[in-house]
């Protein structure tokens, strides 16, 4: 009969009207500024540079300005200039560091490819999302001071991934130290003899995370 479909529809909307008052499955709104939805660990929005130490972020950046991310970034929003000098990194080894590291946040599309290609775990994806500004140019071009965030922050937003990265890095460093020690021993042993070969190359981190 004409109208049954209409009445059925009315019944459904009435059910939803009533349901939205008591059924949390129906009223799914999260009222944003007061409440915020839980961000899953995998959430990615905008990259940041990991520094080992919160007190001296510029001195302890993991980034060695290898420019792989600059090359791989699909929209090419990363700009890096290598430093002329070298500074000791977290493990005390002398490394090149980024004299300039800029990301144009109006171009970045949060694709995470820079993170995936980084061999040093130096750049990671952030959880920020309230990044609106009222300016079009200055505040959208972020330099390394804006981008650097300590490892503790990384642990805070991505505990699982950070733990895994830290574990891997310490293992690598240990291996490197042992290798260096072994190399030093070998060097010492060789030093005894003349005509020593060149020292072993520094440990190369694995190509892929």
């Amino acid at each position: 009969m004409l109208g049954t479909g209409l009445l059925q529809g009315l019944a459904v909307t009435a059910k939803n009207f009533a349901g939205s008052f008591h059924d949390p499955k129906r009223l799914t709104t999260v009222e944003y500024p007061e409440k915020k939805s839980v961000i899953p660990e995998a959430f990615r929005n905008f990259p940041f540079l990991v520094s080992e130490n919160a007190e001296d972020p510029m001195g302890t950046l993991r980034c060695v300005a290898c420019q792989i991310c600059e090359k791989e970034c699909p929209p090419q929003c990363i700009y890096i200039e290598k430093s002329k000098d070298k500074k000791p990194d977290a493990s005390g080894k002398m490394q090149i560091y980024p004299a300039v590291f800029r990301i144009d946040s109006s171009v970045c599309m949060n694709c995470q490819i820079c993170v995936e290609v980084c061999p040093f775990d130096a750049i990671k994806m952030d959880h920020v999302y309230e990044i609106a500004t009222s300016e079009r140019f200055e505040t959208l071009l972020l330099d390394r001071h804006d981008l650097a965030k300590p490892n503790s922050y990384f642990h805070q937003i991505r505990p699982l991934e950070a733990a895994e990265v830290d574990g891997r890095l310490t293992a690598e460093r240990k291996a490197a130290e042992e290798k260096a020690k072994a190399a030093a021993l070998a060097k010492a042993a060789l030093a005894a003899k003349p005509a020593a070969p060149a020292p072993a190359a520094p440990p190369k981190p694995p190509e892929q995370a």
Binding site: T4, G5, R26, N45, P74, C111, Q112, I113
Partner: protein, 390 residues
């Protein structure tokens, strides 16, 4: 004289009146719907010539969202194009990723581990669910249903998007598939969430159908509107639910049997009238089939690696050659055609977008119908301008 005659509408009003008269020339009224119109699904534009309310001519105008996607693909590395594919049909990043990955895998001769194949199927079917439920919502919005079905659709879609987010990091721009597998593995907890969503989805569909499918107004608005015949659709290259609504049982999941689809039992619903109502119902029925596929996939998914160990993330240089990877996307056949010259970038990169091809028959569908129908017909084609304009 009266104050009326001072108005610019009177013939003596001024020079600009001439153009006004020309616009209203004849009995026909030419209306430019879009690119800013509530119902053109983005920046699509239809130049509609009306006789009363009846459409006598319709000229689609495209390109407002053209972003040079294919040319950019030729100057970007193979990996670098992956996030761009998200932005083609931005509702279905997962299937776009898969189609592109499939093309590159064929080019580079990469195998995909078992678990990754299952993950791909799960994500593609979830994507199909959220696309179809969105489409139903948009279509009903276009018929004037005050947003209620759309809101219900978005409520469910949000659950799926949250799953996408917790797996890939982003709700819509997933960038998840990689050549030779997937980017991250799904935890068993995530799979559990998927399965609880899938188990509840049938009930949601039931409620949705109760709300609107039997509604006489909807039937009056959609039945017999925008009828497309099977042969015409085939010769126009139309694919996906649009084609199946005309009674052609063509589904690439069955025809190509890509991935691991032959392992699942599912049916391909086909319509008999080819009208807007059929196009709507086919999508509802496909969602029910997708639920079945998802349940089977979640039951059978094995443990194991998710990446082909041969696959290299950086410096991927396939041997010279060409390949075409296509899958059954929610909107139809989404395909990527690649030619490699052995360098790090594809020599030729071409997308076969289902929305664009499905749009070709728009004028034929709309002729003789009213302006209100044209909106509904356009809604039932299911276009995303990111894909149409590329």
């Amino acid at each position: 004289m009266s104050p009326f005659d001072a108005s610019p509408l009177s013939p003596s009003g001024g020079a600009h009146v001439r153009s006004v008269v020309d616009e209203f020339h004849g009995d026909l009224l030419e209306v430019s719907m879009g690119p800013h119109h509530p119902s053109t699904h983005g920046v699509f534009r239809m130049i509609v010539t009306l006789d009363g309310e009846r459409i006598v001519k319709l000229k689609p105008v495209l390109g407002y969202l053209h972003r040079n996607h294919e040319k950019i693909g030729e100057s970007t590395s193979y990996l670098g194009s992956m996030p761009y594919t998200d932005r083609l049909d931005y509702l279905n990043a997962m299937t776009n990723n898969w189609a592109y990955a499939l093309a590159v895998e064929r080019l580079g001769g990469l195998a995909v581990p078992e678990r990754a194949e299952y993950l791909r199927v799960i994500l593609a079917e979830l994507s199909r669910l959220q696309n179809h439920v969105c489409l139903a919502g948009f279509l009903l919005q276009d018929t004037g249903a005050s947003g209620t079905p759309l809101m219900y659709a978005f409520r469910e879609r949000e659950k799926i998007l949250e799953l996408f987010e917790s797996l890939s990091g982003s709700r819509m721009m997933c960038n998840f598939q990689r050549f030779g597998g997937c980017r991250t593995d799904a935890s068993s907890e995530w799979l559990g969430q998927v399965s609880s969503l899938v188990n509840g989805f049938g009930a949601f569909l039931d409620e949705f159908e109760e709300l609107i499918t039997g509604n006489e107004i909807l039937m009056a608005r959609t039945q017999g509107v925008g009828v497309m015949k099977g042969p015409a659709a085939v010769s126009a290259g139309i694919t996906g639910p649009m084609l199946r609504a005309c009674g052609v049982g063509y589904d690439i999941r069955k025809v190509d049997a890509y991935g691991i689809y032959p392992r699942f039992t599912f049916r391909v619903p086909i319509g008999s009238h080819g009208d807007t109502y059929d196009r709507y119902m086919i999508r509802i029925l496909e969602m029910r089939e997708s639920i079945g596929i998802l349940q089977q996939a979640l039951r059978d998914i094995p443990a194991g690696p998710i990446m082909d160990p041969k696959a290299k993330l950086r410096g991927f240089r396939p041997k010279p050659g060409e390949s075409y990877g296509r899958i059954e996307g929610p909107k139809g056949e989404i395909g990527f055609y690649l030619i490699s010259d052995g360098s790090a970038n594809p020599y030729r990169y071409r997308v076969r977008p289902p929305s664009f091809v499905n749009l070709t028959l728009l004028e034929d569908l709309c002729l003789g119908h009213t302006i209100a129908d044209s909106v509904v017909i356009l809604g039932s084609i299911d276009i995303v301008l990111g894909e149409v304009d590329r």
